[in-house]
């Protein structure tokens, strides 16, 4: 079965989360992704937990491995001029170069956009940093979690009227920024395929996150009021919340999205007599009595497990779902049936389950999964077998700490 990106070659200088998440998609979709690393300064995530069986080591991190399937690893000491030459030679065989160092690092390597487009005019160069390549703060250092505060997202996340939330789940900023970068990259690839023209694709993590805060921006612009945290409430829907359900730390999410939903919701839930009041037939009327309505909904949900409540409501075409734990997500039959989970067989940590991809298509049946690469695992394959380096020269470069 042909995969969408077969024949595409990627030189991947990216590290930590955002870049590797994007390039893992490319690898899973059939591209050959060659990760340029260094054993002298490894990707911080190679050393971070969760580690297989709680034993740390560069080949044991579940986070790193979950971001680096279907890639090859070569190791270069970029402080050495010969490493730069080797990298450039590799880039000349590639379609895409991607990096997410702090601003200016690739230029220090002598591999900035001006260097690369001269070496290979049709190359697509994807570059990102926390705050972008231009502007007064372009050199500021960034990691996804603290950046979330700067994007405005933290200020609207929290309990209603409460303080901003310190943590947005799913390492949100990193993953979301990576998904944004893929869009630019794939569009640039489309353009190159049609015209033969390469180009630079640039994005800022901050803009990727702030760019999705549409409703709060509109609310501020229209009303002049600064939106704050609203918990799980919605300014135009009611009921709309996460409700306590039967069971230990059990919760169900319910979103009654319009007035027709409300009529069906009432039929399923029953509810107190005052729910028949015509003032509740419109969202505005329900929003005015939100606290009372939510209290009555909770009386109903508390007598049911999240699954029972969600099933009853979904049967009436109302959006509802169990607020799953991560364990429940792992066991979810729907995700299992669509083949969401990826299984890697790794030489050091064995067989491990990792998160997959949000979309599915016939071409992805029996998707090949290669374990995350060992550090420098593909040095020989890439430099000698693919680039045609003399084996003796390869040995010299290893001895000279260029290939490390």
């Amino acid at each position: 079965m042909t995969l969408p990106l077969e024949g595409i070659r990627v030189c991947d200088f990216s590290w930590v989360i955002a870049g590797p998440y994007a390039t893992q998609f490319l690898g899973l979709m059939g591209a050959e992704v060659i990760k340029v690393e260094s054993s002298m300064h490894t990707d911080i995530n190679r050393r971070l937990p969760p580690a297989a069986n709680a034993v740390l080591g560069p080949e044991r991190s579940g986070l790193w491995q979950g971001l680096n399937l279907n890639k090859k690893s070569v190791t270069l000491n970029m402080r050495e001029p010969q490493a730069r030459e080797l990298a450039l030679e590799l880039i000349k065989t590639c379609d895409i170069v991607i990096e997410n160092f702090s601003f200016g690092q690739m230029e220090k390597f002598g591999l900035g956009w001006d260097d690369l487009k001269q070496a290979k005019p049709d190359i697509i160069y994807v570059t990102s940093s926390g705050l972008g390549r231009t502007g007064p703060y372009r050199s500021y250092v960034t990691f996804g979690p603290p950046l979330t505060a700067y994007t405005g997202l933290a200020s609207i996340t929290g309990q209603p009227g409460g303080r901003p939330e310190r943590w947005v789940g799913g390492l949100w900023s990193d993953h979301q920024a990576a998904t944004t970068s893929l869009f630019g990259l794939l569009a640039a690839l489309e353009h190159r395929d049609r015209t033969g023209e390469g180009q630079m694709v640039e994005y800022s993590m901050c803009e990727a996150i702030s760019g999705q805060l549409i409703e709060p921006l509109i609310e501020y612009g229209v009303t002049g009021e600064v939106p704050g945290p609203r918990g799980n409430l919605d300014p135009s829907m009611c009921p709309h919340n996460i409700y306590r359900a039967k069971g230990d730390d059990a919760w169900v999410a319910i979103a009654v999205q319009d007035d027709a939903d409300w009529r069906r919701f009432r039929e399923v839930v029953g509810g107190p007599e005052w729910w028949a009041d015509s003032s509740l037939d419109t969202a505005a009327g329900r929003l005015a009595r939100r606290a009372e309505i939510d209290a009555a909904v909770t009386e109903w949900t508390l007598r049911r497990t999240p699954q029972e409540a969600a099933a009853a409501l979904q049967a009436a075409n109302i959006a509802a779902g169990n607020v799953m734990t991560v364990e429940e997500v792992l066991a979810d039959p729907v995700l299992r049936e669509r083949g969401f989970w990826l299984e890697q067989d790794h030489p050091e940590v064995g067989r491990r389950t990792l998160a997959g991809i949000g979309w599915d298509m016939p071409a992805m049946e029996n998707l090949p999964v290669q374990h995350a690469p060992l550090l420098g695992e593909h040095n020989w394959e890439v430099f000698v077998e693919q680039l045609g380096m003399d084996p003796e020269r390869f040995g010299e470069l290893v001895a000279a700490n260029v290939i490390v």
Binding site: T142, D193, Y220, A255, Q314, R352
Partner: protein, 411 residues
């Protein structure tokens, strides 16, 4: 007319110039996917039944005070698109739809599957009828039995992907801190973005095989894909000691740690990360190398995490005497990832955003207001993003497109 022609000419130079998209969406995910493709040069044609259909598609309610906000949202999502009136009960309307699909490259479907099927737009059927098309069907949990007819909402998507279990993490009291969704409509917009990516992959595949593709996009799976660290904590038996998100939501102290935190200061909050020793050292230099931080057991990230209760009062006392901007710039000068916690108001006024022209003004003349909306989320050097907030009236392009395609429709 000149403005329309100018816009079309600009479209012709975009990265996706020549790509034709038909969008039948019921909310933010499909609308945003279409917006992204249009912004980089694709021609996007909306199928819409009526003005009420559009309002219902992008907002619940009606809630009278939000009507203007709904209008602005429509301009954001549908600016620069074309609109064709579509009624599945009218043969001429169906004929126009089919003509549009015959010449299209991508079809965005984001409506309840029962509605799609009733209109002859079941994803499998339409993909079989138009094998050249890249069909992207966006649903809550995919098209397989058991999930196919589930009703979606941003909150429910997040719930079914476990995102609210990690937001917040490590809460001191489960009852007072229910699982929490991130603000806004993150699952909806991210699903639209993922849909755009999937569509572009579909075009790549078509280039290689000559065939279109039915792409089944599960919003639940898109967001679950972000939960990879939390998932790896379960599948790697990695222990919970240094897990920021926590395997259980309950944490006896519920406090931030020296690894990462959101800390109160004189005029709000700021966020920092000090997972590396050099970052902590830099932060301490900003604080004037205080004696309280010099104890031997505070020299290691894990030790600092364990003994944070002893450090915290000193740490916060210093922060409360300083502003977030001051801490931001001083810490960044020491290469420590520190950021002020911005409100939406502060974000749009931020010097960096202004220097990069990230927000563009949408004046609402009748209301005397200006809304700042995001410009490009990604920059392509030679084929830049083309913003547009000129949304077509529903059905505005019906006659023109029918003429162009040789289909007769009612006036």
């Amino acid at each position: 007319m000149k403005a329309v022609n100018d816009e079309r000419n600009e479209q012709a130079t975009g990265a996706l110039a020549g790509t034709r998209v038909v969008e039948w969406s019921a909310g933010r995910p499909g609308g945003y996917m279409g917006k992204l493709l249009r912004g980089l040069g694709a021609e996007v044609v909306l199928l819409e039944h009526s003005a009420a259909d559009r309002v219902h598609a992008i907002d619940a309610g009606p809630v009278p005070q939000s009507a203007l906000q709904t209008e602005v949202r429509a301009r954001f999502l549908h600016g620069g698109k074309r609109s064709v009136r579509f009624d599945a009960a009218e043969p001429a309307s169906v004929a126009l739809r089919e003509a549009l699909l015959r010449r299209a490259d991508i079809l965005v479907l984001e409506r309840p599957v029962r509605e799609l099927e009733a209109a002859g737009m079941g994803p499998e059927d339409v993909a079989a009828r138009h094998p050249h098309l890249v069909v992207v069907a966006i649903t809550l949990a995919g098209l397989r039995p058991g999930a196919r007819y589930l009703r979606a909402a941003d909150l429910v998507v997040q719930a079914m992907a476990a995102l609210p279990r990690g937001t917040p993490a490590r809460v001191p009291n489960l009852e007072e801190h229910p699982p929490l969704k991130p603000g806004g409509y993150q699952a909806d917009y991210t699903s639209g973005l993922a849909g755009a990516n999937a569509a572009l992959l579909g075009l790549q595949l078509r280039r290689r095989t000559g065939q279109g593709q039915l792409i089944d996009l599960s919003q639940q799976a898109v967001i679950a894909s972000f939960m990879r660290m939390d998932i790896a904590y379960r599948t790697y038996d990695g222990g919970d000691g240094a897990n920021i998100a926590g395997q259980t939501r309950l944490s006896p102290t519920g406090k931030f740690s020296t690894v990462w935190g959101l800390v109160p200061c004189r005029d709000g909050y700021f966020a920092f990360q000090a997972s590396e020793q050099y970052q902590w050292d830099g932060l301490m230099r900003v604080m004037g190398d205080p004696d309280w931080a010099k104890g031997e057991r505070f020299q290691d990230p894990i030790e600092r995490f364990l003994y944070w209760d002893e450090l915290e009062p000193h740490f916060i006392a210093w922060c409360m005497e300083h502003d977030k901007a001051e801490i931001f710039h001083a810490a960044q000068a020491e290469h420590v990832p520190v950021f002020p916690c911005y409100t939406i108001e502060e974000l749009v006024q931020d010097e960096q955003q202004r220097a990069r022209a990230f927000f563009v003004d949408l004046p609402l003349r009748e209301h005397g207001a200006v809304v700042k909306l995001p410009n490009a989320v990604v920059h392509l050097e030679t084929t830049p993003w083309r913003p547009s907030f000129d949304a077509p009236e529903p059905g505005a392009d019906t006659a023109a497109l029918a003429r162009e395609l040789g289909v007769e429709v009612k006036a």
